[in-house]
């Protein structure tokens, strides 16, 4: 795995840094398990969507939101193990080139939430190289927290989809999302201005 001299960061810290930058009701999709737990822990926003299953679909769901609302910036947070399950989605996104989509991969090399087993990619595959090879030219490892913030700023101004990979430690997520799928979906739709509450 050629991740250069990237620093090992922390998912909750990096997620909080992302959320702090969002000033325009950007949508954020949290993937299964820890990515949505830390999104929840960073402070619920009406434009957050939390996945309670469907492992690997954070990027496809975010792509759908991005295609539906091209004027809104959309972010997706996905674990490395989850992404491995749906690598083809990277090519789909590269082919469609949504200008408003940013993908963030939290790479701990393990399936943390199921017992920290190493993923098949750990020590052999480079997620950024996979993304670039899938057609996502604007893909990069974040060297440290400042670099992550710089990459997020760049992604927000970009006119093509971006992928930011972050090496993270083996810590679990900080919070626990309230597992109420209908409410999660309904409030997200309110947050996106698609519906008004009853």
């Amino acid at each position: 795995m050629n991740t250069g001299n990237t620093k090992v960061m922390n998912r909750f810290d990096v997620t909080s840094r992302l959320i702090a930058k969002l000033k325009h009701e950007e949508a954020v999709i949290g993937g299964i398990g820890n990515t949505n737990f830390d999104l929840w822990a960073a402070g619920h926003r009406p434009q957050n969507f939390y996945m309670l299953g469907s492992m690997g679909l954070a990027f496809p769901i975010a792509l759908g939101v991005a295609l539906a609302q091209p004027d809104r910036r959309v972010f997706a947070l996905e674990g490395d193990g989850s992404l491995l399950m749906q690598l083809g989605a990277l090519s789909t996104i590269a082919a469609l080139k949504p200008k408003n989509l940013t993908m963030i991969v939290m790479d701990n090399g393990i399936y943390q939430i199921t017992g920290a087993q190493p993923t098949p990619a750990a020590n052999v595959a480079d997620i950024v190289a996979i993304a670039i090879g899938s057609g996502l030219a604007s893909s990069a490892w974040a060297a440290d927290e400042k670099d992550f913030e710089r990459l997020v700023d760049g992604a927000m101004a970009a006119s093509e989809p971006s992928l930011i990979a972050v090496r993270i430690d083996d810590k679990p997520g900080v919070g626990t999302t309230r597992r109420d799928p209908v409410q999660i979906r309904e409030r997200f739709m309110h947050g996106l201005g698609v519906r008004d509450p009853l």
């Binding site: 496809p60 759908g64 209908v182 996106l192």
Partner: protein, 183 residues
């Protein structure tokens, strides 16, 4: 009719795929991810040719379901085209995304594996489809007749949207001609 003439070939010629295309359009369904099937080829071709639709292939059917689920939440309607074997990969996403989040997922499934199937594996895959749909109490219709197609498709789409529940429209070989042993 000038307007009809401008429409891509096959869209209003009374063919099954023309009726499907027009019914999608009338219901403002314009995002169409798919994993192809030979029988769906004319439909896919005409969807690509019609700028009303954003039509594209995905690597997996599950991915396509994620995309239309996200689009629905963002206010845009979609439908997923697939083959029976593609449906067989969807139990997890149906049970963990579409059903619990109450997403009106519209699935058009070209039915392989019955009425002249020549591949044993396909016929077995086909037998898993309705039990999976029934196990989640999902609405599904097998469309066999051209004269019933528009009614079933149009009403089912409207029901999916208003009841916020997935629907599978299974396109039988009786409707489409299916795929026959050619080599």
């Amino acid at each position: 009719m000038a307007i009809a003439e401008q429409q891509p070939q096959g869209s209003s010629d009374g063919s099954w795929h023309g009726i499907v295309l027009q019914t999608l359009k009338r219901n403002e369904i314009n995002l169409i991810p798919y994993v192809p099937d030979r029988v769906l080829t004319p439909l896919i071709k005409n969807l690509h040719a019609d700028p009303f639709f954003t039509t594209f292939a995905t690597a997996r059917e599950e991915e396509a379901v994620g995309i239309v689920a996200g689009a629905w939440m963002g206010g845009r309607r979609g439908a997923v085209l697939m083959q029976t074997s593609g449906f067989a990969t969807l139990a997890n996403v149906l049970a963990s995304l579409a059903v619990p989040y109450q997403i009106p997922l519209i699935m058009l499934v070209s039915e392989r594996g019955t009425l002249g199937e020549f591949n044993y594996g396909q016929s077995l895959v086909c037998r898993t489809m309705r039990p999976v749909l029934d196990s989640l109490a999902l609405e599904h219709h097998t469309i066999t007749r051209l004269d019933e197609l528009e009614f079933i498709a149009d009403r089912s789409i409207k029901q999916a949207v208003t009841t916020q529940a997935p629907v599978a429209l299974i396109l039988s070989p009786l409707l489409t001609g299916g795929k026959v042993f050619d080599k």
